[in-house]
Subunit: 308 residues, 2 copies
Amino acid sequence: MALYPQITIIGLGLIGSSLARAIQQHELTDCLVASDNVPETLTTVQDLKLADRTESDLADAVKDADLVILATPVGTYADLAKAMVPHLKDGATVSDVGSVKTSVLKAFTKNLPDHVHAIPGHPVAGTEQSGPEAGFTSLFQDRWCILTPPKNADQEAINSLTKLWEAVGSNVEIMDAEHHDRVLAITSHLPHLIAYNIVGTAHDLEEVTKSEVIKFSAGGFRDFTRIAASNPTMWRDVFLHNKEAVLEMLGRFAEDLSALQRAIRWEEGDKLYETFDKTRRIRTQIIEAKQDDAAPDFGRVHDDPEED
Amino acid sequence: MALYPQITIIGLGLIGSSLARAIQQHELTDCLVASDNVPETLTTVQDLKLADRTESDLADAVKDADLVILATPVGTYADLAKAMVPHLKDGATVSDVGSVKTSVLKAFTKNLPDHVHAIPGHPVAGTEQSGPEAGFTSLFQDRWCILTPPKNADQEAINSLTKLWEAVGSNVEIMDAEHHDRVLAITSHLPHLIAYNIVGTAHDLEEVTKSEVIKFSAGGFRDFTRIAASNPTMWRDVFLHNKEAVLEMLGRFAEDLSALQRAIRWEEGDKLYETFDKTRRIRTQIIEAKQDDAAPDFGRVHDDPEED
């Protein structure tokens, strides 16, 4: 028997469509239903055969589902939860893949009825691309998925959802929603904010031309343009929904940056060296934990047509 | 006939050893001499057969050279130039691969005699790794090399050096040293500074454990750890030698970041969206200019052992 008789995914972007592919590959449901408010997306889902059924109507999409997974920008969750309520069946689980969790837990517990298991989730995985074509089966392989269930959550519902994420290749960690938001503020949200910011700063320069920024981007800048190419709606919602934790981490980052700025101004080489040296080891640990490639330069291909 | 009868490279780290490999492959000299003040490095150079001759003594290394290339941290250049003076032959070219150019041009023109052609250079290429084992032949393929000759420089000397960099696969651009330092401040130096800084901020957190930072780094943080694993001595010298331009770009970056911080605090979603949307296009342009891979996630390998 499949893990869930019916799974409904709402939102078939990069994450939703990758999850659909992985659920199909690992046969985790008898009936996979895809719903999206963009008609073209559902057409693509049909063309790529990413679901057993597509539904443009939310009520039709969720009414027989044993598991509903929201994979739209987190700003849409409260309205979606409200709209689903009359149609959810007893004992269904509602989860999501959003990058913030405190506000999601609030939106779920405030809007969803007691006969539904609300278990927010966050697979820490992605690429800079968007849309159903960008997804792929192995996106969650060896990544972590964090679940932030409410205190009184049903253990069996947590276990089934854990099995789903493990089946698609992830490690699962149960965490308090507020702690999740602080951890992700430093490991994901702040990195995106400063990447967006430096690309914006470069974009606005008058004295350095755009073509110079592009030509000489291999000096480091290009690394930042990757995450600064991420979905703007999704990231707007992340910052609006994890405001306090992001502002706190940003405050620490800015303080540390001021200290480096001062060290440069006063030519304190030892202080610079100390900072640059202590950060080296973290990358080794990330590679040891299989959270990044060991190959230099992210494994980028350095073509040499003349080399044999 | 080879482009230069003898080429001497001082400093056989990632860049110096990659250049040595590329010079050998493309047969750009009859005699490639390698010199380094670390004895183990010269042993590795011998083992890997990266040069025709190794010399631990600087005078012996440069005395017959037609081209000397400094590939040590830029803080060493003034002393190296002074020490070389009595041994350089008439008409030799002295160049380098340093990431800053105004201070290098000053160090060269102040210390080198008139019978020598001083032509600073900067190949905008690299990885986060260091040392002679980390180098590879195709590092400069499709990258830009910027030359910043003084105003009265010998055109033939510029032409020969241009040919050398083109032969190893690079595009060459001639630029004013001060303009170089402003362009690279935004495309390379500031990116490294903020990468080092955010990794430092994460390193120092008390409430989020080191293991959490590592486990959940695939949310974006891991991208920054790559360039924050770069050679600390080299980067200390870059910031000490390009102080003014870096401080100016850092000032702009900090201003822009304050505006984003304010937009988050006051929940100005439209302003956030606008910033996140305008930065998207730059990555497409970088990929079109062949300065990064088109593959998502830098082409990182997403293994799925069960996929066929």
